[in-house]
Symmetry: C2
Subunit: 455 residues, 2 copies
């Protein structure tokens, strides 16, 4: 039998033509979003002022199993997809493991991550509805960059509220977004009521993702030709990101493989949610029984140490309530944490699957994460994003277990993106200055105490 | 007939198994390198202390048409090659041109450019010869990153002399190289005689590529288990980079295409030299008659305004003399120039071909270059390196000529890499602060006056 190539690509014609909605195959559905004022389930129409209509429908739809990907989105996908399924031969050799390690690499596009898969869909539906512009927030900048690219492609305006401290520390991310025509505003700003109120209270604040979300929503609510967008957590995002897993499954079928375990990093859950979807379908329907492993940072351990409870999706408490694993929307991860995965909660879909026992989770300290990243960079020649390196760490652990047991398991993990914009963190690690942080139970308690009281 | 895909990939098995040596098909060979002390042609043995033996042979060999790519290098190539041949449909649409625009994109690897093709070969031959380490210099950092990756892969030490001003301005590039295990020294340094002499004369100097080359060579000469490497200009580099054109030609054959014109940016000539090689073979042997266009910066116009003369390859005047188009090795491009392409000379092979009328050249101001880069980024969703954007500008001009004439010509250009590490320049352009600089004849005269006197 021919050796499996380093990179398995589908052709552009083989790109899946439909997204897969994992909710359709879940016996127990995620609990509904609640209106925080009434604590009643949100109605579709209540979301229309925030998201464009088709995205509201996708957000609320627990039943439709497959959604046709619009032709225009498919054309955009063809410009940077299919992404390669990589066989990490050199990593296997370095570990001396009988395991077969595969990763689905989503970093070969200018946004540097998988975020473009959802951005493209959201920009398309907004354009189709006749909207003129979108707003969003960005922290590290990957989501903002992806949405800026998609808005340039589909011809929409975009205003990005960028957390002020990131705006100051990552001027290059700002410049990339501006090159794509987006308007970038450091948050908090004087362009919104919520921003002005925060600035009046603390003129020197570096901002937060929660505040940026609140500003982006406020602006979109004031202009009926504008809507808000979010790049993770939401059900619609997991739907769009299902393209990752669908492609992976087809590519693995081509080379006669199927994963024994699927591993992903989790912040809001957009990558693992997308990567795992079609394999989880096999598990939910009894066709196969792969394992699923979420790897989160020890500094922000929503799955391994959080509560499964109703909570706001933003720190500003302006969104509907979602049932998810959460550290409380007031939880702020340690400033020492490098890269993304800083979200207080996790996708309600992933949370429900974890709660129901379909998925495992571990939390890792960041020195171990960067050790894994460095090994991967040197052996596999791809510099991973710190987020991705959590998944790499998980894959290494599983591969080393195989070395112990002698089992030739097939491991698939999500290589979400590249680390070009995270070199400050790599430099810290290279210089031995990176510190680990694990919150104590006392550190976590205030976030839990502030959870909204539901029932 | 099926629509040509956005991206044409060869399979890993279809990667060419041989490099092509264009010198074998040149009726008039490039003039030989001279020993600057004797003005006699360099002998093979005189190069052995500088480069490893096989690379010396390749450097001097005007006759061998094809070189087998070593199996170990092919395995490394398979990790990031074949690179995609991209059909720029959206750019064609934006220009409303009947021209068909293709580009060969070399940026989808962590070094972000084509430089890895030569770095891999050089690291392999050094390892095979039993050497322990390599030295090199780097300015913008692309070459240093590529060589750091290759040395990590083949298990060699690497010391990179990085121009001090770049070391200070581009700390992220340094961190990437360190992640791959390389030692980075800002140049001039106190680790070499030449460095100490320069520092004694001017302790605050920001350094220059010429000085970094001199330091890297000095260090390699003192250690017989170490050799020096250079990522452009050399004949061996064009040999290794021929993989770009060989892949392009095979991919174009697959989709029934052949370029009417091949366009590339030129600094030292490594990308255009590699992209054009197998198409130039067709022209040299009378099989086809494509045009070739070099696009250089107006601020460093070695082809369009330089002399065809013997000159040093470095500012420090430590190398053999090469016959090439040059602005004089003492020429320092304006500090306003963004990105690479700052070299005073050009590959002797490309210089000879240009001198003999096989190639055309234009020089472009940098605001026009960034205008082209921005259009390309928005329509084709790839953020190009400023170097690449010179080639994009050339392609746009040719495509607009086709719009005038109604001709559906096939254009192929080299998209050398990504612009992630050049966002300062993009920011300048976005803010309207980028300035153009065209040296006057008086500006150029001192460089010409200082050319070595040969005959």
């Amino acid at each position: 039998m021919a050796k499996i190539p380093y990179k398995t690509y589908l052709t552009e014609e083989e790109i899946p033509k439909q997204w897969y909605n994992i909710r359709a195959d879940m016996k127990e559905k995620p609990d509904p979003m609640l209106n925080p004022a009434t604590l009643q389930p949100i109605k579709l129409e209540e979301l229309y002022p925030i998201f464009c209509k088709e995205l509201c429908r996708q957000e609320m739809d627990n039943d439709t199993r497959y959604y046709d990907i619009p032709e225009e989105v498919l054309e955009n996908y063809k410009m940077y997809r299919p992404s390669p399924l990589i066989r990490a031969y050199n990593l296997e050799q370095a570990l001396d493991t009988p395991a077969k390690i595969y990763c689905k690499f989503e970093g070969n596009n200018t946004s540097g991550s998988h975020k473009l898969n959802a951005a493209s869909a959201m920009a398309y539906y907004a354009k189709k509805q006749g909207l003129k512009s979108l707003t969003t927030e960005t922290g590290a900048g990957q989501w903002g960059t992806a949405l800026a690219m998609a808005c340039a492609y589909f011809g929409l305006g975009l205003t990005v509220y960028m957390v002020k401290v990131s705006f100051q520390q990552k001027p290059f991310r700002k410049s990339v977004m501006e090159t794509y025509g987006a308007k970038i505003i450091p948050s908090p700003s004087d362009t919104t009521e919520v921003g002005r109120a925060i600035l009046a209270h603390d003129p020197n604040t570096g901002g937060s993702l929660g505040c940026a979300i609140s500003e982006a929503i406020e602006v979109s609510l004031q202009d009926d030709s504008c809507r808000y967008t979010l790049g993770s957590v939401l059900n619609q995002v997991l739907l769009h990101q299902s393209i990752i897993g669908l492609e992976s499954k087809t590519a693995m079928e081509k080379i006669g493989e199927y994963p024994d375990i699927v591993i992903g990093c989790t912040g809001g859950g957009s990558n693992l949610g997308g990567l795992m979807a079609s394999f989880m379908q096999d598990k939910l329907t009894g066709r196969k029984n792969p394992r699923f492993l979420a790897v989160e940072p020890a500094s922000c351990p929503s799955l391994t140490r959080g509560k499964y409870a109703y909570d706001f999706c933003d720190t500003g408490k302006t969104t509907p309530l979602a049932k998810m694993y959460t550290l409380g929307c007031e939880f702020i991860p340690s400033a020492n944490h490098a890269g993304g995965l800083r979200y207080h909660g996790l996708s309600p879909i992933l949370s429900k699957l974890y709660h129901d026992g379909y998925m495992e989770a571990i939390a890792v300290e960041q020195n171990k994460v960067f050790e894994a990243a460095t090994l991967f960079a040197r052996r596999e020649q791809i510099l991973p994003a710190p987020e991705s390196a959590h998944a790499i760490y998980g894959a290494l652990q599983e591969a080393l277990k195989c070395k112990e047991s002698g089992e030739a398991k097939t491991i698939l993990f999500g290589l979400t993106g590249t680390g070009y914009f995270d070199m400050n963190a790599y430099a810290q690690y290279n210089e031995g200055k990176m510190t680990d942080y694990i919150p104590t139970d006392e550190d976590l308690q205030p976030g839990f105490d502030a959870l909204p009281k539901v029932d």
